[in-house]
Amino acid sequence: MENFSEVIEIFFSLDNFLAIAIGVVIGVVIGSIPGLTATMAVALALPFTFSMQPVAAILLLVGIYKGGMYGGSITAILIRTPGSPASACTLLDGYPMAQQGHAKKALKTALYSSVIADFISNIALIFFAAYLAKIALNFGAPEFFWLICFSLTIIISLASGSMIKGLMAALLGILLSMVGLDDVFGSQRLTFGSYNLMDSISFIPLLIGLFAIPEIIEFYRKKAIPHIKAKASGAGLAFSELKRCMKSIVRGSLIGVIIGAIPGTGATAAAFISYSDARRRSPNKANFGKGEVEGVAAAEAGNNGVAGATMIPLLSLGIPGDVITAIILGAFMIHGLTPGPLMFQENLSLIYALFMGIMFSSVVLLVVGNVAIKYFSLIADIPKSILFPIVLMFCVYGAYAVNNDTFDVGLMLAFGVLGYVFNRAAIPAAPFLIGFILGPMFEDNLRRSLLIGSNDLSIFVRGPITWFFIVLTVGSILLAIYRYLSTRRELRAGTGTGDEAP
């Protein structure tokens, strides 16, 4: 009871409410600008928190994080430019929906899925923090290695057209992630003597190049057509549609919670896994990738389900789950706090005040998100001939801002050309991106496992967790092959019938 009054006293301060509101607004705005990520916004906001109270400071950063996670989906849906890596999956169905005149529906779906997932993630943070963190604590390098293997096999199901092209794209992504200095021996890998490549290829130029530039190139390569106004003010999301998506949202949220609670994975992987899972289970699976509302819901639920859960290992173990939580960890330390089990004993009131603030941020996200849809959807009504030169400017500025080097601008354009070639050859970009993200994690855990096991390969089958992931990985591969073969068989049977019919 004494704690409760203290929690109320800490939380019910105008500073905290303002911090959450401002944080979410900044997050949504920054997240929706291509090239500016939530990570960059959180990092840039950190110096502003020096003079703030610890709870307000942390809530400001958490607000930016959550706002940024949702904001990234706005431009992904409207102009096929993910504002953050995690929303790359949202554009798979969000952008086709916008093209079909259902931009508002897609944005509303993204918002409601984000808020619901965020809420579920927060509940998980509050009730299951210690339990889930305990499971994740049992993961060593071999377990992570198999977890990543399993994630890589999911790429197969992401390749909507040809499984071979999906795998090829993933392999190219993995190969590209190896450019730079080798972590163990420090030897150069495919850097060709360039200093700019030694620190590996920057993620932001790659992301912008792959997803924004091909759209611009194609616009100027294609014959000019009269501007058709995107109906961003069209029909919203019907309750029946939300109800239909509910299972995917809840499953996506739980996937986000589990992945978010495991340090080292992230929102992007959660979004793709959730999307893939929803596609596998949905009766409308054929519509995925062509503007399926459930696809947007699953992707957003996956990436927002991570937001609260990444705080689980951070608060209970002091282990940051991703880059943003690492920055938040820095904010804790600036204010003289050390997250971990001891903090639950020494600063319990502060932790509960944070929990309240984090829960409140979901409500703020709902309000700010609704306003953002009203105004940010105006982007969809601007003719592409006006919008694309401005988007290109944001892309160039964003790419340059990573390292303050025009090399990254050139890199972004090179990836833009590659993305355009991928589009022309119908090679999916999503597996390429996933390969690029998971490649270094795969290699790192492989080598760490070998070092731990003194080069004895039996370390990869050392316990029930590794076996669990091995079974999942093999099962996923077999399932993908079975699906591929049965689709081809159905296609052949269909063609055969069609031939015979006349």
């Binding site: 500016l36 960059m40 840039l44 057209g161 040809s162 071979i164 092209k165 795998l167 090829m168 392999l171 190219l172 993995i174 190969l175 190896m178 080798d182 163990v184 021996f185 030897s187 150069q188 890998r189 495919l190 850097t191 060709f192 190139i217 194609e218 100027y220 390569r221 294609k222 014959k223 000019a224 001939s385 006006i386 030169p389 401005i390 290109l392 400017m393 944001f394 160039v396 500025y397 340059y400 801002a401 303050n404 025009t406 601008v409 354009l413 589009n423 022309r424 050859a425 119908a426 090679i427 795969f442 290699e443 492989l446 080598r447 070998l450 070092l451 080069n455 081809r488 296609l491 063609t495």
Partner: protein, 168 residues
């Protein structure tokens, strides 16, 4: 009238898959036999070949080689789906595309020399002309946006961008 010649010729079902497969096959061969041995340094002593910096790139290279052969076979034997037919586009004027290339080149070559504002204005104007935008006041946006966005980056968000050389 009919000859046996067309029957003997292998009919390519999807030419772009075959082209992509051939390009990737060539790339994988160059990667495995030239790039990996010459551009990835290997330490003299290794406890396990799997620890080598060359190990994973080589594995990836071989896998690309295998899948590129499969892609060629797919292009030769499997009919392209309707989804992939959407790849065909009606090309616009070369002038429009050329102006876009010029705008991109301006960003790459002049960004640090002339600054973000100048490059932003010039490239945006070129792209407006390329389409072309017929509403005259829209051209004012080509001046307003680069200035406002540069200000936002530099002053509000503390993200340094190159300024015009005569700015202090």
């Amino acid at each position: 009238m009919t000859t046996s010649e067309p029957k003997r010729r292998v009919k390519v079902k999807d030419a772009s898959d075959v082209i992509a497969g051939v390009v990737l096959f060539g790339f994988s061969v160059v990667l495995i036999f030239y790039l990996v041995p010459n551009y990835i340094n290997e330490p003299p002593i290794l406890q396990s070949p799997m620890m080598s910096p060359q190990w994973l790139p080589r594995i990836v290279g071989w896998l690309i080689l295998v899948f590129s052969i499969l892609l060629i076979l797919q292009g030769l034997l499997v009919e392209g789906s309707n989804e992939e037919d959407e790849r065909t586009i009606e090309k616009g004027s070369p002038r429009r595309f050329g102006l876009m290339v010029v705008a991109l080149a301006i960003y790459v070559t002049l960004f640090e020399v002339m600054g973000a504002v100048f490059c932003g204005i010039l490239a945006t104007l070129i792209l407006f002309v390329a389409h072309p935008v017929r509403t005259w006041w829209v051209y004012s946006l080509a001046f307003v946006f680069p200035i406002v966005v540069t200000f936002l980056f530099v002053e509000v968000m503390n993200v340094p961008l190159p300024m015009m050389p005569f700015w202090f």
